[in-house]
Subunit: 252 residues, 2 copies
Amino acid sequence: MKKDRIEEIAELLDKRGKLTLNQLDTYFPDVSQMTLRRDLLQLEQAGRIIRVRGGAMSVKEVQKVSSEPYAKKTAMHTDEKIRIAQKAASLIEENCSLFIDGGTTAMCLAKELPDINIHVFTNGLAVAIELAQKKNLNVTMLGGQVMKENLSTASPVAKSYFENTNFELAIISASAFTPENGFSCGSMVEADLLKMTRQKAKAMYMMLDSSKIGKIMPHTFARLEDIDVLITDDEFPADLKEEFLKRDIVVM
Amino acid sequence: MKKDRIEEIAELLDKRGKLTLNQLDTYFPDVSQMTLRRDLLQLEQAGRIIRVRGGAMSVKEVQKVSSEPYAKKTAMHTDEKIRIAQKAASLIEENCSLFIDGGTTAMCLAKELPDINIHVFTNGLAVAIELAQKKNLNVTMLGGQVMKENLSTASPVAKSYFENTNFELAIISASAFTPENGFSCGSMVEADLLKMTRQKAKAMYMMLDSSKIGKIMPHTFARLEDIDVLITDDEFPADLKEEFLKRDIVVM
DNA sequence: CTTTTCCATGTAAGATATTAACACAGATGT
DNA sequence: ACATCTGTGTTAATATCTTACATGGAAAAG
C-alpha cells in the first residue's frame, strides 16, 4: 500500500538521516525508482523531508547539521551555552511556571527543556516557537515591539501583562557582567522588563557563560545579590565564584 | 573576493530561503556557475546551507519548514496564497500602520511586504520573525498564550494591548467562509481578537483563497458586510462576488 | 626582479539524476 | 460491464552535477 510505504520511508529517513535513491531502492525492491521518487515528492510537499540530489534527507537531520558545525561561526560559545542550558533544564520541575528571556542562551535552554507540564513565559519569538513544539508545555508570549537584533519583544506596554501573571522562577541570561555593574544588557526596555521579572519571580536563576564576564552594557537590570542561582561554565573564575558564594548564591 | 561572495550568498539564502543556481547566477553575473557551485559546496560543508537539486536552501528555512503542524498548512495552496498576498501587499502604502494575523496566508503576505517604513501589529510568531528581517519596518507582537497549531497568540489579556494602540488597516485571513455564517475560525479567543481588530481598524481587508469557501468553523468573527476589501484568487465564484459588490465591497 | 607555487576561477565533456510523457493494470463507483 | 481514477512502470528527453584539465594572477621564494 502506498501510504504504508511512504510512512516507512519517512521513518527510515528519520533514523538514517539521509538516503540515496539507490539505497531506498534496495529497501523497497518491489517498486520502481519512479514510484519512490513520487513518494519522496509527496513527503517533501508535506514538509517532512528535503529532497537533495540523489535522494532525500529528513528534516530532523538538517536540524542536527545546523546546530553543530555551523554553530561555531555564527553564534560563538555555543558549546558552553548548551552545557549551561542543560544544567538549567535539570533544575526545572513539573507543574512549575517560569519565565525565560529571548536570548541565545535562553534558546538553548528552550531546546533542552523536557516536554513536561510546565508553563513558560517568554519574550523571545524564536524561544516561543521552539517551545510550541512541545506538547505538554504551555507557552505564553509577552507582547511588545519586536527588537530585530535578538528577536525579542520589549515595550513599556509589556508590563501590563505582568500584572495578571505569576511565575515562580525566572531563568534569564545577561549580555554582560562585572561585579561592580552587575548584569547588564543593551536595551533599556529590555532591562526594564527584566527588572520587573525579578520582582515578579520568587527566584531568579542567571545563566552566564564566562565570555560575558568583564563586559559592560549600557543598562544594568540586576546586581550580584539579586539572583539566587548562577549557572555558568567551567571557565568561571574562582575568585568571582567566591563573591557569589559569600552571598549565599548557588553557583553551578 | 571569495569570502565576501560566499558571505553574500549565505545572506541571500537566509532571506530568500531557497535559490536556484540560475537565480544565483543573475545575482553574481561576473562569476561562472561553477564557482557558485563551489561556493555552495563550501557553505554546505560548513553546515550553513543544504544543497538541493537546482540550487540550495538555507538551513534556517528548513528549520521553519520543520515546525511540523505548521508546515503542512504552509505547503497547501501556496501558489494561490502567494498571489493573494501579492495583491494585498500592493495595497499597502508607506507610513501606515496595520494589523496582520498569524495565519499562513498572512505569512505569505509578510514575505511579500516591501521593506518600507510601516508599522505592523501581528499575533503570529512566524509572521513577526519574518517581518523582523526587514530593516525599515516596525513590528509589534501581540502577546498571549501561544496556540501550537498555528503559532499565533491569543488571549483575553491581549485585548489590553489594543487599548493604547492604533492602526488604520487590518489585513486578515479566515479559515472558512460561507455567506450565511460569514468569516470564521477555529478558536474562540482568536475570533475575539479579530473582532476587536475590526473595531480598532478603520478598514479591514480580507484575504480569502477560494478553498475556504463553503467551509464553516466554530467561531464567526466577521460577517460579509464587515469588510472593505476582499482579496481572493481567480477561482472565486462569480455569484458570490456579486454578493460582495452589492455591498460596495471591493473584490480583487 | 624573476621564478615558482598556489589558489581561485573558467571550460567543456562525461556521468548522473530528474522530469515528462505515455502506457497499463487493478480498484472503485455507476 | 462500463467509465474513471489512482498507482505504477518504462522510456526518452532534459537538466543538473562532477570531473579533469587549463588559465591567470597574486603571494612566496629565490
